[in-house]
Amino acid sequence: MSPQLTLQTPLQIPPEEIPIYLQQLWSSDQTGNAGSNTFCLLVWQPSWLEQQLVRTGKINGPIIGSHRQEIIYAARKFVLEGNLPHSTTPFDKSITTALGNKEGSTSAEDLRGQHINSAISALQPRRLITLAPTLDPNQNLQTMVAAYCPLPEDGANKAACGDVVVLRGHINSLTEGLDIIKPLLPDELPSWLWWNSNLDEVPDLFDQLAISQRRLIIDTALGEPGRCLGLLHSRIKTGQAVNDLNWLRLRNWRETLAMVFDPPQRRDALNHVSQLDIDIEGNHPVQGLLLAAWLADRLNWKFQSSNTFKDGSIQAIFKRSDNTPIQFRLMPLPIGNPSIHPGQLVGVRMICKPSAEKEVCVILGSETGECMRLEAGGMARMELLEEMVPIQSNPVEKDVARLLSSSRGNTSPLLAASSPIALNLFNSSSADN
């Protein structure tokens, strides 16, 4: 599906006039002029990497705000040119920082907020508000408005129209203009905030935007792990609806692991897990910890203790309901050409020791090399159950669209149950070292 542009050129109007303008646009006395009755989406869209790549002339504009291949390719190239570790993920902050030190003043048209991914536009959002911070510290607040009607790709006549609002300017000027957002998000429609960036940047602004009645979309793979897990847990605890793209990307792993234990005769093994090993790409542990926490919650394991080691690995002890200890180890692996999502899982090994039966070793790997690594050490003497897990490579907008279309407006109970365990695993191990 290709991204869609707004049909009309966005109209630049002063911020204070936007609510009235939009009210008139959708006034009910104009027949056939009703906006869609769906949801509003507020997007924090800094696109720092894209802006820096354009500024330094490494890619051409316009600035769109999507994770397109061209950006990923340029970022990977810069990792080699800039002597950054080869395991640096394309959207890592270090790339943006290093690019920021480079000369360059190329400018390009900024279409953030006007270039709507078709996966999202197919859901016919009522209003898309994009906050597009610029690199230029002198950029004053600009506000633009456009109505749009997504054209269904299948040609079906079922379009319902919405509008887009873009607030562009330096962070300081954007912060000053935040007052106009509230009246633009009608109470009768669900509103979402998609924080499309690192979770540790501009925390004050995050707090201002992420008010409790807004449903959050965040990515706990982006930002300092402690901040990511802490924020995830604290927001869920307040009852806010939190949707985590990092958790969403675990789905294939959870599904495959569940599939292994679907046949009833294998289920007893789940009561006898003695060891869990999780391998991740690079050193961002959140996704791995969330998987371990999910298993701990589902299988009633009690967390006992954890340690972090110099190589970034984390070891922990859980106890089963029969008090038998379970060894858990999270192992970061340096990968040369990492995925765009930091800390993606690459392998899982779970060893179960039923008392009267042969031991069972479940190995899930994203590639055969990883399976071989996890098979080593005599695993073949056990009943070996191995599965390949397809790597998630959806564009982030598609994942967001999936959340927008499937969320019930509350946090997944499984994520809610897993987040405190994951935080505990991380904090306890950090505190010890």
């Binding site: 789905r251 692991l257 569940a258 234990f261 679907d262 009833p264 299988l299 499937s406 019930r408």
Partner: protein
């Protein structure tokens, strides 16, 4: 046997679509279907957290019940399903409302509109409404007109109409009913329900065929020699004699459930998984289907009626002795048919269809029999080589099996058939949802994939028109063969297959 231990890792992994805020209005809410199927299915959806929090079920019927009375009656009807989940039931029952409505009374329609608006305000259902006609089929047309005249179907995006089977009683009446319904609502608002399509195993036929590369290349006349589709019941007419006497097995089962199984088994692959693409293919294959001999339809159909049977300890009465059944009734409780499909894929392949009450076993299955190997190199243990068979078990013991020959152990080279099994229970260990759970959710989601479109319904009726006309005009040409209760039907049904040197499968 279903496992009682659920897979703890499976919880929450089902990818369910979210139903928008919704008010489901059931007309005929005091009837049997509401208690037996619809409310239980909704309760199940509620337990699975698949109903939105902005939901309401408004039951409508002539009886002057209150909301509370409706809730009490539903609770009584569902007592087994509720078990010790009283708390969950209490939460669910707060979504249940009742409005006495006679659809022919203008005043009642006004009251209904007001009640719906009130529910929109109290339960935030945003005017999204699904109207479910669970009334007698003879009222479908007038009910549609009444709902339409009250303006309740005006918004094609927010209002839908679900119509139970049977949709018409022959080709002409189905056409007329389609006209009436389509005058009241757009086709994309109309959901003609056939609960067989809600069964996991029926939907699995689509996945089996179109998600695997090994089946589709051989799924045609070059490799398949015949297809048998069976829907057998062990029960008799029970308390449905009033309806069944005017309907019979042909209208009650064949025109809808079995024909839908036929369509899904025989359709061409759709271009993509899209409701219209699938329904186009189903309609096309039904339009290409015909009775094996349309000019002499009595040669390709056998009708039967169950007589007494059972054992000394538990004797079973015959159909004519059932309450509400005429002692000289000629309604068929069994029917077997031979069909052909005139297209490139299926030309010349006979499709045998049978259904009946009080048969030996309760089961629904589709059996694809493959052509024999061109040369028989080995002696067969059974005397003659057996054809490969793919058996799709719709119910019970849902799954599939593939029968093929292997070497019989021993020093010789003799072949014998064995079965390669797939069982839902063994693989997934969890019972699948009732058809109505899936279909009610789909209707509220506005997903028509598993509902029959007007052209499908008409094609299905047209297929059996020569038989219905014959039964009407010259019934002695299609005599009713009696069969003993709890057997596999009249022996005459074997003659349909005999011409092809085949036998009915006796599972």
């Amino acid at each position: 046997m279903s496992s009682t231990i659920t897979n703890p890792l499976r919880v929450g992994l089902r990818q369910e679509r979210v139903i928008t805020p919704q008010c489901l209005v059931i007309f005929g809410a005091s009837g049997d279907l509401t208690q037996r199927k619809l409310v239980p299915a909704l309760f199940e959806l509620f337990k699975q957290r698949r109903l939105p929090s902005e939901f309401a079920l408004l039951g409508c019927a002539r009886r002057p019940w209150s909301d509370e009375e409706f809730r009490i009656r539903m609770k009584e009807a569902l007592s087994k399903q509720i078990g010790n989940e009283n708390k969950i039931w209490e939460q669910f029952s707060s979504f249940l409302f009742y409005e006495p409505v006679d659809l022919q009374q203008q005043n009642d329609l006004l009251k209904l509109s007001e009640r719906l608006e009130k529910i929109d305000r109290s339960n935030a259902t945003h005017s999204n409404r699904t109207f479910y006609l669970s009334v007698s089929p003879k009222f479908y047309g007038s009910a549609c007109r009444a709902i339409h005249s009250a303006g309740l179907l005006n918004d094609p995006k927010r209002s839908r109409l679900v119509i139970e089977k049977p949709f018409g009683k022959d080709y002409g009446s189905a056409q007329s009913l389609n006209q009436v319904v389509q005058n009241c609502a757009q086709e994309n608002q109309i959901f003609r329900i056939d609960h067989y399509l809600g069964k996991e195993t029926v939907q699995n036929i689509l996945v089996l065929r179109f998600a695997n590369t090994i089946f589709e290349p051989i799924w045609n006349r070059n490799y398949i020699s015949s297809v048998q589709i069976t829907a057998a019941e062990t029960v008799g007419v029970e308390d449905r004699a009033g309806y069944y006497e005017g309907s019979g097995a042909l209208r009650d089962m064949v025109q809808n459930h079995l024909t839908q199984m036929l369509a899904i088994t025989a359709m061409e692959p759709p271009g993509h998984f899209d409701p219209e693409a699938i329904r186009n293919e189903k309609a096309k294959v039904l339009q290409a289907a015909r009775l094996a001999d349309e000019l002499n339809p009595w040669t390709c159909c056998v009708r039967g009626q169950y007589g007494p049977g059972g054992s000394k300890e538990s004797p079973l009465i015959g159909y004519q002795q059932e309450d509400g059944v005429s002692s000289s009734s000629t309604t068929e409780t069994y029917v077997a048919l031979k069909l052909f499909i005139d297209n490139w894929r299926w030309q010349g392949v006979p499709f045998f269809i049978r259904t009946g009450k009080r048969l030996a076993k309760r089961l629904s299955e589709i059996v694809l029999t493959f052509r024999e190997a061109p040369v028989h190199l080995f002696d067969a243990v059974g005397g003659s080589p057996t054809s490969n068979q793919l058996i799709l078990r719709i119910q019970p013991d849902e799954g599939a099996e593939f029968r093929y020959d292997v070497k019989s152990p021993g020093s010789g080279m003799r072949s014998r058939p064995i079965e390669m099994e797939f069982s839902y229970d063994q693989s997934f260990g969890e019972p699948s949802d009732e058809g109505y759970v899936r279909l009610l959710a789909d209707a509220m989601l506005g997903d028509p994939t598993l509902f029959t479109r007007s052209d499908e319904v008409e094609a299905a009726w047209r297929l059996y028109t020569p038989l219905l006309e014959l039964i009407e005009d010259d019934p002695q040409k299609l005599p009713i063969y009696p069969y003993e209760s709890r057997t596999w039907g009249p022996a005459a049904a074997d003659s349909l297959l005999a011409k092809n040197n085949l036998l009915w499968r006796r599972p």
